[in-house]
Symmetry: D2
Subunit: 110 residues, 4 copies
């Protein structure tokens, strides 16, 4: 996800004077709504069926999740790259390769 | 979000042999769980209170949302930049600046 | 769900002086968090596996969903029986038996 | 929520031959989608604004949450009254009145 794309998302918001509504709590709620719209494609369906029939909506809803993630990060002052590298580092502690390889269990159950 | 970061996310998954579990339906469910963990920081709290007290967890949970978004996109074969530009273009049709400026209403109510 | 059970839920809240926090928006957020905790039992698992291994947590989280539903209804002034009968009546219009029998499609696709 | 209402919900399902789709995982996903639709009424709005403008949709979506809760409980074999009383009892241990009165903090922070 380019810096250029992030700039487009923020420009879209500012051209419409929407920043006034974008407090972190309502942005987190928005993220929740968009993820539900993505998940709806899989209701009563297997992954295969959903992906074969509903790619246009899946593309749209994942894009909404990413757009709101960018807006949330900007509202709170977070750098996407930094927080991801930090979390991968934490996950490496919780899920060391030798313990976690091939296992789906949560770290509390390893 | 660099290409380099996306590569780190996929490498983390593959070092642990986790791709076998990453079908799109369960990845969409995972996205839903992580967004709820982000939203939890705002339960019973204003944006201000949440941001002043819970930044470490907010950073962690937003990172999880981004990580699962990358894993989902890779599992389904979607390009993050493409789908975002496509959605911004659709949103421009639904929310033309002259109609939507300063308004929070959904496009169906404009 | 007895009237007696609903009374216990409200009494639990009032014994702890919690009504002051129970505005509808935060109660809707709470419902969202509890449903995610219920759904977590099914992450990476089939229905069969989740039900065979995680019934205690499933019981707990579904109870939380019901408890917050009762608290939300009380905060907004809704009667559970009334709103359910109203929705079943609406659903009967959207999903008449002759059109909907055996089909999982949304009414917009029938 | 009467036994009679629960019977109506199950009859509605069976008249339409829908039980075949109602595995617990997809019912948990459905609960997640309906809670999001309830929460949507509060996006960008205070509780007061949402309740003054959107009661019809709030009634509808809370009804859907209750309907899916009943369907989920029936699919898994849970008694609504039992699980609620059990959870209130657990909550009484986590949130004794003398420690929890007037406080919104999670039990881990009391």
């Amino acid at each position: 996800m380019d810096e250029r794309i992030i700039a487009e998302i923020l420009k879209f918001r500012d051209e419409r004077g929407w920043k006034q509504y974008h407090n972190p709590k309502d942005l987190a709620i928005s993220l929740s709504l968009e993820v539900a719209e993505l998940l709806e494609n899989f209701q009563w369906s297997s992954s295969e069926e959903a992906v074969s029939k509903r790619i246009p909506n899946i593309r749209e809803e994942l894009a909404d999740v990413l757009i709101y993630s960018v807006l949330f990060a900007e509202a709170v002052g977070l750098d996407l790259n930094d927080i991801i590298m930090e979390k991968l580092s934490m996950n490496n502690q919780k899920y060391p390769i030798e313990k976690a390889f091939g296992k789906k269990e949560k770290y509390t159950e390893l």
